[in-house]
Each structure stands twice: as C-alpha cells, then as structure tokens.
C-alpha cells in the first residue's frame, strides 16, 4: 500500500478526496485533524462574539474624545462675541447633551415610572391612608358621633379613671389621674 501524504489526508478529511484504504496512522491523523478543526472553529466564534463589545467601547471612546475637543474649539471659534453667542450655544449644547444622553434619560424615566407605579400600588392598599391622602374629613353631627376610644393608657405616677361627659356639643372623655400617694380618690 502506497504511503499517503498529509495533504491527501487533509483533502480526505475535507471531503475533497476519496481514499479507499486507510491504515491506523492515517486514521489517527484524520481524527487529530477533526479535533484541530473544532478548536479553530470555537476560537473563531468566540472572537466573533467579542466584536460588538469592542466596537461599542471604541464608539464611546470616540464620543468622549469629541466631547473633550468640542469645548476648547468652541471657545476659540468665537472669542470676540461670547455674549451674543451665549444663548444659541447653550441651547445647542443642551440639545447635544440630550442627544448624547438619550439612552440615560430613557433609562431614568422608565425606572422612575416603575417606582412610581409600585408606590401607587402600595399606597392604594390602605383604605385609611387613601382617605387621608384624599383629605376627605367630615365632622359628624353630635348625635352620630362615637365616644372616644382609648386604645392605650399609661399613668406611671398614679391611677387613671376614665369618665365620659356628654352634652349638646358632643362627647368629652376625661382621664382623671390620681397620684399614687393619694389615699382618697375623686
């Protein structure tokens, strides 16, 4: 059997040349070629994936360079009429800034909108707070008013007695504090 050259084996591996009989050495070389092809392909794909990031980094670098160069040039271009050019320059700079930071502004507005929506949802869950924020407060007629409700009472220096007085003006709740050292109460 005639010994095969490496170039013939590579053509066979690429499907360009048909070889009928292959010895063990040739098969091993073809398998090794396959592994090498996979390595090269993977490396190329990784390089391709990195291209956008590199491109963006280059773009930002160029933008920063332009920004750095713009200010001194503007000052040099209009050294004799700074006051007349001020309003136009300001608006132009503002417009340019808005153009350059459009993405930032959109990010901010979307974030703020999301937070505001969450705040509204959370605030909407509490009926009492809604009533408060709506600022609807009624003074009930005397006949419809409820007596004062005492949720907690602490009288460290004595004892507290709760009294309710009623008249045509409404309810009056009294907490009468008697000092602890008083023998006779009210």
């Amino acid at each position: 059997m005639k010994p095969l050259h490496d170039i013939e084996l590579m053509q066979h591996a690429d499907g360009e040349l048909a070889l009928d009989e292959l010895d063990e050495l040739a098969l091993a070389k073809i398998e090794a070629l396959g592994h090498l092809r996979e390595v090269v392909r993977g490396s190329a794909e990784l390089a391709a994936d990195e291209v956008p990031d590199a491109k963006f980094a280059r773009m930002w670098g160029e933008i920063d360079k332009v920004l750095d160069n713009t200010r001194p040039v503007a000052v040099r271009a209009e050294p004799h009429a700074p006051e007349a050019a001020e309003p136009r320059g300001f608006w132009r700079r503002l417009g340019g800034w808005l153009d350059r930071h459009r993405g930032h502004l959109i990010t901010g507005v979307v974030s703020a909108g999301a937070v505001a929506a969450v705040a509204l949802i959370v605030r909407g869950g509490n009926d009492a707070q809604v009533a408060s924020s709506g600022h609807t407060f009624d003074v009930q007629p005397v006949s419809l008013r409820s007596p004062v409700e005492i949720e907690s009472m602490d009288t460290p220096e004595g004892t507290g007695t709760v009294l309710n007085l009623e008249d045509e003006d409404g309810h009056t709740t009294v907490i009468w504090v008697t000092p602890a050292d008083t023998v006779e109460g009210i």
């Binding site: 930071h101 993405g103 930032h104 502004l105 990010t107 901010g108 507005v109 974030s111 703020a112 909108g113 937070v115 505001a116 705040a119 509204l120 009492a128 707070q129 009533a131 408060s132 924020s133 600022h135 609807t136 407060f137 009624d138 003074v139 009930q140 008013r145 409820s146 004062v148 409700e149 005492i150 949720e151 907690s152 009472m153 602490d154 009288t155 460290p156 220096e157 004595g158 507290g160 009294l163 007085l165 008249d167 045509e168 003006d169 409404g170 309810h171 009056t172 709740t173 009294v174 907490i175 009468w176 504090v177 008697t178 000092p179 008083t182 009210i186």
Partner: protein, 152 residues
C-alpha cells in the same frame, strides 16, 4: 455608565417626590390649660373658656368653683410628628397618628407633671371637634382640654 445612573437617580428622586400626596393631611388642635381652685367669691368665667363652660360645670370639675385659663394654644399637626404644646405647668405633646374613617382621628397624647415625670401617656381615637380632657393634682387641680379637627 456613571452619568446614566446619575440621571436615573435624579429622575427617580423627583418622581418619588411627586408621588407623595401634595395635600398631606393635617389637623388643627386646640389645647386649653386650666387651673381649678375654690374661692369664696368666684369671678365670672373667662370668655376664652366658653367652649369648656358646660364641661366644667359638671362633676367632677364642678367640685371647684373657679377656673383660671393658664394657656390656650392652637397648632396644626402634621401626621406622625410629635408636637409639644407650650403649657405653664409641666409638658404636653400630641401626635396625630392617623385618620380613621371619615370623621375620627387617632392621637397620641403625653403629659408630664411640673417635676418632669410622665403622668399620662395615652392613644385615643376621637371624633373631630369632640373634647379629650385630663386632670390631675399638681399643686392646684390642673386640667388640659384638647380638641382637634381636620385642617381646611
């Protein structure tokens, strides 16, 4: 990247600030400080005490025949802000906790005596324009009368 986050933070802050209620609820509170004594010739009631006249004429306040107004303070209370009321004897502070329903206010009231000791700490729910009173012996019979209603 830093500029982007800076802009986002500024817009976010302004948005959250604008999300707060513009007409945050407040209440107007009136505190009367009264001293009760007994005299042989009681003077006519101070006109400033007219809102308390009927209450002071009932027991146990009617035990004393002379009511002297020590101080009268009106304050607007913001929600959850403890407000000290200037009084002649001891200290008094009121906090507007919350509005309950359409006509009731939840208040926290703290009273210290002339020696600086806490004599009352209470949390109440009271109808707007109704009165809450507390009384104790602090040299003379000392009375605090509080009424609150929503600010207009």
């Amino acid at each position: 990247m830093r500029a982007r986050w800076l802009v986002a933070a500024v817009v976010l802050t302004s948005s959250v600030a604008s999300a707060q209620p513009k007409d945050a609820p407040t209440v107007d509170c009136e505190l009367f400080e009264v001293s009760l004594t007994t005299t042989k010739a009681p003077p006519p009631l101070d006109p400033a005490l007219k809102p308390l006249e009927k209450k002071l004429a009932k027991p146990p306040f009617s035990t004393w025949n002379t009511a002297t107004l020590l101080s009268h303070t009106t304050k607007t209370l913001a929600k959850l802000k403890n407000e000290a009321f200037p009084v002649k004897v001891g200290k008094a502070a009121v906090m507007f906790e919350n509005q309950t329903g359409k006509s009731q206010l939840q208040l926290t009231i703290q009273v210290d005596n002339s020696k600086g000791k806490r004599v009352l700490g209470t949390k109440i729910v009271i109808e707007g324009s109704d009165y809450f009173m507390t009384s104790r012996d602090d040299g003379t019979q000392h009375v605090l009368a509080l009424t609150c209603k929503a600010s207009k």
